[in-house]
Symmetry: C2
Subunit: 254 residues, 2 copies
């Protein structure tokens, strides 16, 4: 049985709590939250505390708060030499207060409020200062059926940048697609199957193999007519730079 204390009650904290509750190998000892209401639907009130001094002993303390609050929260913990981890993609392990043994438990996924996630499809990136603690992280990941990877702080930072490209920026391209549809009285739903298939393709093909379109074909007529059609200057610039980048990366690989 892995005894876990969660510090935080936001989006990531709630998804972790929901996943941990389903595992017979994990015991949630306590949840620290300034706002008991926000998680009382998940955890019995007797287990929720808003007082650092009343935190009880557990195998691992998971700080699931906003990136900018991690350092401060870790320094407020009233104990030493226990195992304390954060869940952030972009914060190095060293930002945790060194009075405790430190680690990272970073689930690489985009969490939507109120939408349950299946951790068996979510990779977790693990890191710890001490080997023994790494075993706790592995056991925790396995208890929620998550595929796990040993990822250093510097690798995790790069991974976070890659995630921004494939998640945040990709979603913004969907938004540009939706804006173009709006402008021309087209329903955005017409693009949804294409969006789904585009993501599906790279589950088995490499993105380089999966690439199609006028940029890859060097179809300058189509490219020019698309640029002429775009009225928004930023959309035009994005079209140009991504077209160049596609053509450049396919030349490099030839």
């Amino acid at each position: 049985m892995i005894k876990v204390t969660i510090i935080g009650s936001g989006n990531v904290a709630q998804h972790l709590i929901a996943a941990f509750l389903k595992s017979s190998e994990i015991e949630i000892c306590q949840v620290f939250s300034r706002n008991k209401e926000s998680i009382s639907h998940l955890v019995d009130r007797s287990k929720i505390t808003d007082n650092y001094d009343s935190l009880s002993e557990s195998d691992i303390y998971i700080i699931a708060v906003s990136d900018s609050a991690i350092a401060e929260v870790s320094s407020k913990l009233p104990f030493k030499n226990r195992f304390v981890v954060h869940t952030s993609g972009s914060v190095p392990l060293e930002e945790l207060d060194s009075k405790n043994k430190r680690g990272v438990f970073y689930p690489l996924q985009t969490f939507t409020k109120n939408k349950e996630v299946d951790f068996s499809t979510i990779p977790t990136c693990l890191e710890s200062e001490i080997d023994d603690d790494y075993t706790i992280l592995e056991n925790l990941a396995e208890a929620i059926n998550s595929r796990h990877y040993l990822i250093s702080s510097s690798q995790r930072k790069s991974l976070h940048v890659a995630a921004v490209f494939v998640n945040n920026f990709t979603n913004h391209l969907y938004q540009i697609g939706a804006a173009i549809c709006d402008e021309h009285q087209l329903p955005f739903e017409i693009l949804k199957p294409l969006i789904a298939e585009t993501a599906q393709k790279v589950q088995s093909l490499s993105p380089l193999e999966a690439q199609t379109g006028p940029a890859k074909r060097h179809d300058q007529n189509t490219i020019d007519s698309h640029l002429a059609l775009l009225t928004d200057q930023t959309q035009k610039e994005i079209y140009k730079i991504l077209t160049q980048s596609i053509q450049h990366s396919h030349v490099k690989k030839l």
Copy 2:
């Protein structure tokens, strides 16, 4: 029974043939192909011709060739006043020779060679000069269970631009993600669940609602550290312009 003749034997032609063969309401009369071998696994050789003059009568002739060949192929057809359509997203109806009645049957999807597609998940964009012919297009789309939309040539061109953003450009962002992983000894597979979920999210949320990340949060510390980490100048430029575009579009909507 809708009698169909297909002109072409490439990727789109083959996917259409495979879908039509499954429908009890469609009869493939003939397939025109210069290369009989390329489709002999799909269609009986007696139905394949490489001679325009031997094309028999049917309800609809579907020209599924590269965009740049559509005009020429349509002008070579040795008959008049029959219903001839193309399957392209970016070519206007008017590029078809006016000696025949013209239309468009554009399935909005990215087709992968040798990967079967389910047309019940693919929207088709329909257009015709004459109302009676539109009924043929509707019947054809319904015979393969495809959701269909009346889309004008000018709308279709805009839709094609939107498709380039959500398909070609999105795939390129996946490729940048893969390149960053490569550079830092990270397996690309670690990003695949995130890619799948990002596409999944906008099936029910609008892209504007689904947007997350440092750009949207105006988290300049993270943005700066990401830019410092990127070594490729083009990747840096793409990161900058997409970050600005996210911030600009969220300001506009507030």
